[in-house]
Symmetry: C2
Subunit: 131 residues, 2 copies
């Protein structure tokens, strides 16, 4: 696994699909992931720390994890099949138990970006699509 | 608190805002809540049990609750201020602890509808807007 960071988010208002770029923390390889507009706006808003009058869905998810005495520890982008990326949330409960939950990368990043949760990508994905 | 059920969901494809109707289980009073399209589509899809190739945000939220050994027990619509409804998720952990999390009604219902989680509305809200 290689640590990456969210390098760029490109939002085209007229499109339903947006693009985020993840880049190696200790290298130059980067790759794009196409995500939906709702998730792109959520990432952008949380990245900028823009508050909303009511909790949006990703804020609700963060609040649920916290209220259940758990913490999002890291995000794994662990697979790529037919141009679809697969991710996992790694969540640690205060009782020490760690659980992994299947997620789209967009939800995982929207959730993690507000708290600088580290993102890791499987080597074979970077070898495949990183440039 | 009065138990209500999701009676109707009206989706207008050309609009960003959609409407759901909640109705008393043991009475005739009902009221509408205006919600966003993303949440309306999520409710509609989960109501119909339509699977998606990848977990959408509300499915992710359900999975996180389950993986953390907890269960969504009920939804409370507990306040109405300036035409905005306020809701709470009541989540019970397997250790017996119950937590409440502030939510928009749309997220709460999208989350609860797949598992027939009961929805309760404060009396003063029904008295105010129920007809």
């Amino acid at each position: 696994m290689v640590q990456v960071e969210l390098k760029r988010i490109i939002i085209t208002e007229t499109s339903d699909q947006q693009v985020i770029f993840l880049k190696e923390v200790t290298g130059d390889r980067a790759f794009p992931i196409v995500i939906g507009s709702t998730e792109a706006f959520a990432i952008d808003r949380r990245l900028k720390g823009q508050p909303t009058p009511r909790p949006q869905t990703h804020e609700l998810l963060s609040a649920v994890i916290e209220k259940l005495d758990a913490k999002l520890e890291r995000i794994l982008i662990n697979d790529l099949q037919d141009s679809t990326f697969f991710a996992r949330l790694v969540i640690r409960h205060s009782n020490g138990k760690t659980v992994e939950v299947d997620s789209r990368p967009s939800d995982a990043i929207a959730l993690g970006v507000a708290n600088n949760v580290p993102i890791f990508v499987a080597d074979h994905i970077l070898d495949d699509v990183g440039s």
